[in-house]
Chain length 192, copies 2
């Protein structure tokens, strides 16, 4: 082969990673040609790696959840013992997460987008969400897996909604006030 054996999967991974950031930043409004150009490739080659933009979208969401779960897990492990969940909540609701959509939680950035897609797209989303749920559930209260997963749904969907409200507001001080109030609220509700 004219490229090293691991060349193709490596390029594919770069495409997914870049797409993951762009989709979170811009919603569905991502052009294949521009995405490829940023990676010093041309749009024609895209279809050597993916069947369609739709397939890329599904994989990009999975990659995004993985990236965020890793970041939040790190925050938890750096926290003092017993303060893991508090650290996760405060990291999720930080001004930094609010201002960095591209590296942020796909649940916040893309859930409405996914809700508008056909059933196949929603099933792909559920599949991508599952590892995120499992990794975060480790830090959540609850007597059973089912209970912890329901707590994940409540806590993370609530925080995602608050993040979206903060992002839709122009004034930084109002943003900060909302995020801080939400930190207190969710820490009290889930991590006390």
């Amino acid at each position: 082969m004219r490229y090293p054996a691991d060349h193709k999967p490596h390029v594919r991974e770069r495409i997914v990673r870049a797409a993951s950031h762009r989709f979170r930043d811009r919603g569905g409004d991502v052009a294949i040609a521009k995405l490829m150009r940023d990676l010093r490739l041309t749009h024609g080659g895209f279809y050597r790696h993916f069947d369609s933009k739709e397939q890329l979208f599904a994989e990009a969401i999975g990659d995004g959840f993985d990236e965020v779960a890793t970041g939040l897990s790190r925050a938890a492990h750096e926290a003092p013992a017993g303060g893991e969940l508090k650290a996760i909540i405060e990291t999720y609701l930080s001004l930094e997460h609010c201002e960095n959509r591209a590296e942020g939680c796909p649940l916040a950035a893309l859930a409405p987008e996914v809700g508008r897609r056909p059933r196949s797209g929603r099933l792909a989303f559920e599949g991508a969400l599952r590892p995120y749920v499992r990794r975060m559930a480790l830090f959540l209260p609850g007597a059973s897996d089912a209970e912890r997963e329901l707590n994940f749904a409540l806590l993370f969907s609530g925080m995602a909604g608050t993040l979206n409200l903060a992002r839709a507001i122009a004034d930084t001080e109002t943003r900060r006030a909302i995020l801080d109030a939400a930190k207190r609220f969710y820490v009290k509700a889930f991590a006390s």
Copy 2:
């Protein structure tokens, strides 16, 4: 004039109303020509009423908040005394609201979309949001306006996030479980 005096504002209102439903249903992905066709008009006439699609978007959001505030206020007034906020929460988190994006809360359907727009778009959003805040704050706990408005931000952004998660999930039973858990959670946190 070749049309009755109130013809133009009446048509304008019909455009905003229809756009409000379509934007909530489909996000930014709304075509002016199709929108006008549904109203038995042609796309050319659109620009007699609006400067741009952007302007329509801003007005449509305001109209959507008004529609939802009216629905939630009605639910509150039909509730037994003392149960107003509980009724609002249970209406917001109902399967019916979940399944009817087009008539649903713009905060859930459009906040991420707005967060991606330039500052002018976010300011327009804040302006459209304000009457919604004021009308809902009437039913919220808090010792001052500021406190009630912060509670609005927490409760409604949280519920919006949960609605978006439920909408992104394919399975109806999982949806219902999440919505029911959220009802209990938010009623306990804000209406007890």
